[in-house]
């Protein structure tokens, strides 16, 4: 194990996968010569050359389409869309093309592309650089969606995405960019797509998180442990397909569910998790599930407003207390 920052773990994954398979190519805005807008592809141009590591114009639709076509033609492209918000410019190629090509061709084609994108929330960069649009992509048949909440998972999930034969959207967190943690040294450290991880075992309540909310969920669980509330923390890691068995297994055990997310509530991954618990885990729920999410509004830029907008430790702790206090009540 080596302590690595989140972005360094991503850089390691890219280097390892470029080194492992000559079909892997990397392209996007500012990723080659500048080494990535925030350093994630630092050094890769020098190591793998301008044929395989390329700066592109600011043409999200065309570069995503180019990823689709090159994946169909034998490459393993990794295309970077600088901010999650900019994926809106690439959605035709991602949603209409990449996601449907296997279906439309009866499996004669697959589209093994990886689309990396940075969720800019917590950078203070405002309404068009901070959105959590994960439910948009997670609801598309044909796409897989992953989001590492730790350096080790960011690395292992990215490697899994590159090796996967289907199009995978890999979301990365600006808010975790400089966080540091242990990362396995094994170049075969691959986190399977579709597997959630239990970060903390507990018995009173299941707290589900992913991406940027993972450290906040961990902290809230530690706070609550001091009060004698035993919280099981589950990091989804993959947002499509959801690890339904893992979610239900934990909810069945604790009988209570809290979901925390940086995305707004309606039609979100969190509401889908609650739907799963309410339909398939109905008999085991002892209280009404709680969703901790921002107000239904765009993301503000100043720190004071951002702290009021995104779920904070106190919000999560309060939601868990509500879930526990509501035992045997009907909502």
């Amino acid at each position: 194990m080596t302590r690595r920052k989140y972005w360094q773990a991503i850089n390691d994954a890219l280097r390892e996968e470029l080194g492992r398979d000559e079909r892997v190519v990397l392209f996007g805005e500012d990723i080659a010569e500048p080494g990535g807008p925030f350093g994630a592809s630092n050094g890769l141009l020098a190591e793998f050359g301008p044929g395989r590591v390329r700066d592109t114009p600011i043409s999200e639709a065309a570069i995503t389409g180019m990823a689709v076509g090159s994946a169909m033609a034998g490459l393993r492209p990794i295309v970077e869309i600088m901010f999650f918000d900019f994926i809106t410019l690439a959605l035709d190629q991602l949603v209409n093309q990449a996601a449907k090509m296997s279906y439309m061709s009866m499996g004669h084609y697959s589209v093994p592309l990886t689309l990396r994108t940075l969720c800019g929330a917590h950078l203070g960069s405002g309404p068009q650089h901070s959105q959590n649009l994960e439910s948009w992509v997670a609801s598309v048949p044909g796409l897989k969606v992953v989001w590492g909440g730790t350096p080790a998972d960011a690395k292992g999930l990215l490697k899994a995405a590159v090796r996967d034969p289907d199009p995978v959207v890999v979301i990365e967190s600006a808010g975790l960019w400089s966080s540091r943690a242990e990362v396995p040294d094994d170049t075969e450290h691959v986190v399977p797509i579709g597997e959630a991880s239990t970060r903390r075992v507990g018995t009173d309540v299941t707290l589900i998180c992913w991406g940027s909310t993972v450290p906040r969920a961990d902290r809230a669980a530690a706070t609550l442990a001091e009060e004698g509330i035993s919280v099981e923390v589950l990091d989804l890691r993959t947002l499509n397909p959801l690890d339904v068995r893992h979610i239900l297994g934990s909810v069945t055990k604790t009988g209570r569910l809290v979901v925390v997310q940086d995305a707004t509530g309606p039609c979100s991954v969190g509401t889908e998790v609650i739907r799963i618990a309410a339909t398939h885990g109905f008999g085991s729920l002892r209280t009404a599930p709680q969703l901790v999410s921002p107000p239904f509004a765009p993301t503000p830029f100043p720190g004071r407003l951002a702290r009021a907008y995104f779920p904070q430790n106190d919000d999560i702790v309060a939601a868990v207390r509500r879930a526990v206090a509501k035992e045997n009540t009907v909502v």
Binding site: S59, A62, I63, Q93
Partner: protein, 328 residues
């Protein structure tokens, strides 16, 4: 023109056969839809066959093509099975897309067809990806994107020309300028009526040819494809042509008069080729080819019709290549 060499005779026959097969395929599809045998939308390229035939004639088996909602001709010219295409139109499980996707999505890796596409302009960057793969892998393949002049107003057209020029990619952009973006005339949707001009700011060589003259299309395509293949970079070929049918089958065509259509029907690409031949023996050969293409489509139609229908059990198949453990 005299077809003086055996090679030239072969070329004439190949080009004519391809155009005839497309014409018979689409005529049959039109009739089947009118007779209520087919579901869904049908966009026909009758009148435009010379572009598909002329361009694909100079492509190798390993070269890539992408095309549009009006893509039957390009797929047939690249070697697609008319029977599997008809089976798809009939929603049969043996169709190219398992009978689930319809007319606009023929794709075949064995033929380099990176897919017909129902989103205007979307096929252009996908072809760019084919060209990128060829360049990265050091293969001598060329990619061709077929699209209409309607796609010229899409951002991806300009984005793709720029990238192709910057990276010197082996791609030929082939615009079938048929004068209409769906139901809107080019005069109302493009400031410049000459699509080749849009290549200039991207420093991509371009040429405009009579898209109903299959020999002119073939000659220009040959130059551009071989330049791209030998590392000379991208090009844009604008083919001026016209579709005889509406934007889709059933289109009332209130936006154009019958005189305009009749005028273009007088420039039938198949007849134009025949008229240029003064060798009576070759003309007879082409008549034979025409009859055989007709028979081939009749036979393929009967065979496709008899195939098993796509069943609801197939609804969720091939959504993914690798189904994650969580879903098993």
């Amino acid at each position: 023109m005299s077809a003086t060499t055996p090679e030239l005779r072969d070329t004439f026959q190949r080009l004519y056969r391809t155009m005839s097969l497309i014409r018979h395929f689409e005529t049959a599809a039109s009739r089947l839809l009118a007779a209520g045998e087919l579901d869904g939308f049908l966009h026909l390229s009758i009148g435009q066959e010379a572009v598909a035939a002329g361009v694909c004639d100079v492509l190798d088996a390993g070269d890539y093509v992408t095309t549009t909602h009006r893509g039957h001709g390009h797929c047939i010219a690249k070697g697609a099975s008319v029977e599997r295409m008809l089976a798809e139109l009939f929603a049969r499980s043996t169709g190219y897309c398992g009978g689930r996707s319809g007319s606009m999505h023929v794709a075949d890796p064995a033929l380099g067809i990176l897919g017909a596409n129902a989103i205007v302009g979307a096929c252009i960057p996908i072809a760019l990806g084919g060209a990128l793969a060829a360049q990265v892998l050091g293969e001598r393949r060329v990619a061709v994107a077929f699209f209409g002049e309607g796609a010229v107003a899409e951002g991806v057209f300009h984005e793709s020309l720029n990238i192709a020029a910057l990276w010197h990619l082996p791609i030929v952009f082939v615009c079938e300028n048929n004068g209409y973006a769906e139901m809107t005339p080019a005069s109302k949707h493009l400031k410049s009526a000459r699509v080749a001009e849009y290549a200039n700011p991207h420093q991509v060589p371009a040429e405009t040819v009579d898209g109903n003259d299959v020999l002119a299309v073939r000659a220009a395509a040959h130059r551009f494809v071989e330049t791209a293949r030998s590392g000379g970079g991208p090009a844009l070929l604008e083919c001026r042509t016209y579709r005889w049918h509406g934007h889709f089958e059933g289109d009332a065509q209130l936006y154009r008069g019958s005189e305009e259509v009749d005028q273009w029907r007088g420039r039938d690409p198949l007849q134009l080729l025949v008229q240029r031949i003064d060798d009576p023996e070759l003309r007879t050969d082409l008549e034979d080819l025409n009859r055989r293409c007709d028979e081939e489509i009749v036979k393929a139609t009967e065979s496709a019709r008899a195939q098993p229908a796509a069943e609801p059990v197939s609804l969720t198949s091939h959504v993914y290549r690798a189904t994650p453990e969580a879903w098993r």
